[in-house]
């Protein structure tokens, strides 16, 4: 079996708080996780869950209190490993006295490219993130969305094998978000591994092979988005119309939501056939029958609302 591209073992980070009497606050608690090559892995969690802390630890910007992590088989302390990875920080801020072209050229210098190679790469990246016409504009004149695109460009400038993106869709309009999703999917097609944090769950649902849900510094679940959803107890939603002069059975009435002639009712799977028979008896016209699929958002919200809840899926190491 191939080694995971990202392997995190018991990563823990405490931060001191308070001025006089220093106390430690645990921001990340024993995170253990593995990401395979070519995956798009979504790292989900509300603000303060520990997502950015995890990414900063992996990038060597802060140091772990306990635990270790390896990327492409090399320790996160190994600076040379950074040749193979790209990183977009949360709410990126760049040298605003530089133009987008100068900034990318500056970052490209750290990979030893010659002047011609740098020029080509920078032009290609600006084109790829839709900033070809704004390459000569100083970054202080850029909007938040444009800065986010520059951030993505600098993260993938050197064709890294693993790309870490911290809230890449943040600050983008719907079109920009779709473009970023396309870029991420394009990276996957090239065989790259993408690890990105987000709290925009629909984005994660759409493009992730797997997601991990982090809450209060602890990993609460890991799995395919569908896998996480399948853990939920499903029900069925029935949409139907009543014929004129026919009344809904009394026991269904309190559970049904009415809009004009139409009714919508959610029933547990075990009761489905019984309810359908009742509806047939009263000559209701069934319009649709669909499983109630709780969204990742529902899952996420439930976790947030019950911090002590047992993890729905616990799959720390594959």
């Amino acid at each position: 079996m191939a080694l995971p591209v990202i392997e995190i073992l018991g990563l823990t980070k405490d931060f001191p708080t308070g001025f006089w009497r220093k106390r430690m606050r645990r921001s990340l608690d024993g995170l253990t996780l593995a990401v395979e090559e070519g995956e798009i892995f979504g790292f989900l969690g509300p603000n303060g869950a520990g997502k950015t802390t995890t990414l900063k630890l992996l990038m060597g910007l802060i140091f772990p209190t306990a635990g270790t992590a390896h990327i492409l088989g090399r320790s996160i302390d190994d600076t040379q490993m950074h040749r193979e990875i790209g990183y977009l920080p949360e709410q990126p801020y760049f040298y605003d006295y530089l133009t987008a072209r100068e900034l990318l050229d500056y970052y490209a210098r750290f990979f030893g490219y010659g002047a011609a190679e740098r020029r080509q790469r920078v032009a290609r990246m600006l084109e790829r993130v839709g900033l070809a016409d704004a390459g000569g504009v100083q970054l202080r004149k850029f909007s938040k969305g444009m800065l986010q695109r520059v951030g993505i460009a600098q993260a993938i400038l050197h064709d890294p094998r693993v790309i870490f993106l911290d809230e890449p869709m943040s600050g983008l309009d719907p079109i920009g978000r779709r473009e970023v999703r396309d870029i991420i999917l394009g990276l996957k097609r090239q065989g790259r591994t993408v690890f990105f944090s987000t709290h925009i769950l629909s984005d994660a649902e759409m493009i992730c092979d797997r997601v991990g849900v982090l809450h209060l510094g602890k990993l609460r679940g890991v799995g395919a988005p569908g896998e996480i959803l399948s853990m939920e107890s499903h029900g069925m939603e029935i949409l139907f119309e009543m014929r004129a002069g026919r009344a809904l059975p009394a026991d269904l009435l309190p559970r049904a939501a009415q809009t004009g002639q139409r009714y919508r009712i959610e029933v547990p799977e075990a009761e489905l056939y019984g309810v359908l028979e009742q509806l047939r008896d009263c000559e209701a016209r069934i319009l649709s029958l669909a499983p109630v699929r709780p969204s990742l958002e529902d899952y996420f919200l439930r976790l947030v609302e019950s911090p002590a809840a047992t993890p729905a899926v616990e799959e720390p190491v594959r």
Partner: protein, 259 residues
């Protein structure tokens, strides 16, 4: 210096230029023009002394202000604005970043000082005095100012690795002032009879960077010859001290958690 540090240094220089740091040159030029006009009217035979003293002192003060106030923000600003995040995600070691920032600011100051030196030469020319062989010592004084500022930047960077710009500026200024009066500190130790105090004063004297030895402005004004031994001793001293300070800075910075 590694290629990584070189890239950081060039960007630091570019930042200083685009932040209009070199605008101080206009002030310096005005000062020199004013001085040249004024000494032509009020001083008889001491134009050289006045212009050299004023010019070199201005170069030193302007450089000092820039070294401290830009130096203390070099690292802090990159952390505060989080520009360092994207940079350290590249194959750049933290010490390479520090060395790059250091060299970048030093380069900015050297360019600045060179341009101010041209201004000083122009002022000397303006007061109608031919250049003499002894004027070469002015170049030595300028070289010592560069060495002095190289040391000040290293002190500022060291403090900025663990302190706010305001405190770092205060600490650096305090160290500079104490370093200028290093000999007085040593002489004070000789006056005290307590062996403990004597030892403490000696430790402070040898630990503090001695800025006194870099100041030869008065001697140059009087066309005194600067001994060659002082040149190489000062060079070696500055090199050693800067290396030690950068090593200490790198040690602190390499294990510090960024915000």
């Amino acid at each position: 210096m590694s290629g990584m540090s070189g890239a950081v240094a060039l960007n630091t220089f570019r930042e200083a230029v685009r932040d209009r740091v070199l605008y101080n040159l206009i002030l310096f030029a005005l000062l020199m023009i004013g001085a040249a006009v004024l000494v032509g009217q009020i001083s008889i035979g001491i134009e050289r002394l006045v212009i050299i003293n004023l010019g070199l002192s201005a170069i030193s003060v302007f450089g000092l202000v820039m070294a401290i106030f830009i130096g203390v923000g070099l690292v802090y600003k990159e952390i505060e604005k989080r520009t360092l995040y994207s940079l350290l995600a590249r194959p750049v070691r933290r010490w390479e970043f520090l060395v790059g920032k250091y060299v970048g600011l030093l380069l900015t100051l050297v360019v600045n000082i060179l341009l101010m030196s041209v201004g000083l030469a122009a002022a000397l020319f303006a007061v109608g005095r031919p250049l003499l062989r002894s004027d070469l010592s002015i170049l030595t004084a300028i070289y010592f100012i560069v060495l002095e500022l190289a040391l000040v930047i290293a002190v500022a960077i060291f403090f900025s690795c663990f302190s706010t710009p305001m405190l770092s500026a205060l600490f650096t200024l305090a160290i500079y002032i104490a370093g200028v009066f290093a000999w007085e500190i040593r002489d004070f130790g000789a006056l005290v009879h307590s062996p403990a105090v004597h030892l403490a004063v000696r430790v402070v004297y040898y630990t503090l960077p001695n800025f006194h030895n870099f100041n030869i402005i008065a001697a140059v004004g009087h066309a005194e010859r600067v001994p060659f031994s002082l040149i190489w001793q000062n060079t070696l001293y500055a090199l050693l001290y800067v290396t030690l300070l950068l090593l200490a800075s790198a040690t602190v910075f390499s294990r510090s958690n960024l915000k």
